[in-house]
């Protein structure tokens, strides 16, 4: 399957599959962060205006922190997510799957300067397009990667049907394909369901409704015992 999944092996010998986030969602997240910072600057500007000279000094200090540490603080303390990243459901982690720490976050955000060159993230975008994990230069140096925060999805339920035993033995890949098909039927048009089901050939020949038959087989294959008694 062609997908932007990156496999990372844990000490337990399990591969974690990290769905890597691409240029567009990251750019949009960055834009949101810019807007948020703009709002904060404006708010601070007005608030500190009344403090006169002292206020100006405090504003400059706040601007320094915002310029360099806004992403770092959020990434380390808020689970790898700046507000912009949160809005797009993405987060930064180390590329071995562990949460990002101070050093890695600082490296990737200080090196933003180099990514930004020659203008508007020219080098960063070139770097993202040239490697498999969409890493900008800062990510390469820090060993970090931006991934989608995989939200828990609703469990797909198999369409209700009386389980049917397939007429001949199926290998595991075939069994899984049938179950996956059944899980996806609610999102497909009936015509498309019939068309896909027709592709299974001998499994459904002679059956009046191929799609329903497959769903029923999926129930049987997934070990449904309800209808069996």
């Amino acid at each position: 399957m062609i997908d932007t999944l990156r496999a990372v092996q844990t000490p337990e010998g399990i591969d974690l599959h990290l769905p890597v986030a691409g240029l567009v969602s990251r750019a949009l997240a960055w834009l949101i962060d810019i807007l948020i910072r703009g709002v904060i600057y404006t708010g601070l500007g007005f608030g500190l205006l009344f403090l006169g000279e002292t206020g100006k000094g405090l504003f400059l200090l706040a601007a320094f922190v915002m310029e360099w540490f806004y992403p770092v603080l959020f990434e380390v303390l808020r689970n790898g997510q700046t507000p912009g990243k949160r809005a797009y459901g993405i987060r930064v982690i180390n590329d071995d799957g562990t949460p990002i720490g101070w050093s890695a976050s600082l490296i990737r955000n200080l090196l933003r300067v180099a990514d930004f060159l020659p203008l508007l993230y020219g080098f960063g975008i070139a770097s993202m397009m040239l490697n498999r994990d969409f890493k900008r230069l800062g990510d390469l140096a820090a060993g970090t990667v931006v991934v989608y925060q995989d939200a828990a999805r609703k469990e797909p339920s198999l369409p209700a049907a009386r389980p049917i035993r397939p007429s001949f033995a199926l290998n595991q890949a075939e069994q899984q394909a049938i179950i996956a098909f059944a899980e996806r039927t609610p999102g497909l048009t009936p015509e498309r369901c019939e068309e896909l089901a027709g592709l299974t050939g001998p499994l459904v020949t002679g059956r009046p409704e191929p799609a329903e038959t497959l769903c029923a087989m999926a129930r049987w294959l997934s070990g449904d015992s309800e209808g069996r008694a």
Binding site: P11, H17, T54, G57, A63, P99, R153, P156, A173
Partner: protein
């Protein structure tokens, strides 16, 4: 084993692990007892491997994937003791890092101080040489800032006459520390960016100092800058050394791939960047609150500035020799 039997057998364990992760996600203080955690996590790993090998449904595998990933993040996450780490770094890590990188620090120091002293000297002999680096407008600003007739607001240009010390502190922190960070980051361009920034800063500061000395604004200028010079100038040098470390990782990675070299060397370089940033901020404090104090006699400023130079050098030479 059929998928539904498999789920029925393990569902309770997964729920327990999920519930534990949910209470933990918020923050460390509310973390429930973790007696079962490691065992549940390892079982989930095993079950994920089984689910994959048996080609159970995509949804089940995704769910276990997510469960294992979340638990993995907590089990193998970095333990953070920020305050203790900072203290150890100041007492031990920073001076030790500077010494371990002494070759690059020396190179950066030469790149910075040679043009600085060179420019300063050349201008004493040929005052017009200053125009090779600075233009007339900048020079007029500088002359105004350190004119003995304006000694009440020494070190501030015309637009900043009425600014408070705190205002100047903010300005120096933002400006100078930012330059330090950029000096480091531009090392990623094969070291060329850092090289240029360090060289240019050396030339610029040398030219300014040379010009003002040659004009005879000696006391206003030197007594102003001597206080923060030890911290600020050496912070530039260390930012430069950190940037060169990055450049060198790309130019001469040794037996590693460039990517691997970059990752390892950037961690080492960061050990210099932390310290340089701290020095810039200390320098900004001195520059904003001590250097412009006109009620102090120049002599005491020279003595304090000299003492600070000795202290900074002693810190790098003798600091953190004992293991933490």
């Amino acid at each position: 084993m059929k998928q539904e039997q498999f789920i029925a057998a393990h569902e309770a364990d997964w729920r327990r692990l999920e519930a534990w992760l949910a209470t933990t996600a918020a923050d460390d203080s509310t973390r429930a007892p973790a007696e079962e955690f490691a065992a549940l996590y390892r079982e989930a790993c095993q079950q994920l491997a089984l689910a994959r090998a048996r080609l159970y449904s995509r949804h089940l595998i995704n769910r276990l994937d997510r469960l294992v990933l979340q638990a993995h993040q907590i089990l193998y996450g970095e333990r953070r003791h920020l305050m203790k780490d900072i203290a150890t770094y100041i007492v031990h890590g920073f001076p030790a890092a500077v010494r371990s990188q002494w070759r690059l620090v020396l190179v950066a120091a030469l790149l910075f101080y040679v043009p600085l002293v060179g420019m300063l000297t050349v201008i004493q002999m040929d005052p017009d040489m200053v125009y090779t680096v600075l233009d007339g407008d900048t020079l007029r600003q500088l002359e105004y800032m350190y004119d003995p007739d304006n000694r009440e607001s020494v070190g501030r240009d015309r637009d900043r006459q009425s600014d408070s010390d705190l205002m100047m502190f903010g300005f120096y922190v933002k400006n100078n520390t930012g330059i330090g960070f950029r000096t480091f980051a531009s090392g990623l361009l094969f070291g060329i960016g850092t090289l240029l920034v360090v060289l240019f800063n050396g030339l610029y500061i040398g030219a300014a100092a040379g010009h003002l000395t040659q004009l005879g604004y000696t006391e206003t200028f030197w007594s102003f800058v001597v206080g923060h010079s030890a911290l600020e100038l050496n912070a530039i040098v260390l930012s430069g050394a950190a940037g060169l470390r990055l450049g060198l990782a790309l130019l001469s990675p040794g037996r590693r791939t460039r990517l691997r070299a970059l990752r390892e060397e950037s961690r080492i370089a960061l050990q210099l960047v932390y310290g340089a940033a701290g020095m810039f901020i200390l320098a900004a404090m001195v520059e904003a609150f001590w250097s412009p104090a006109t009620w102090l006699p120049a002599t005491s400023k020279y003595v304090a500035g000299g003492a600070l130079w000795l202290a900074v050098l002693a810190y790098f030479v003798f600091g953190g020799r004992r293991a933490p």
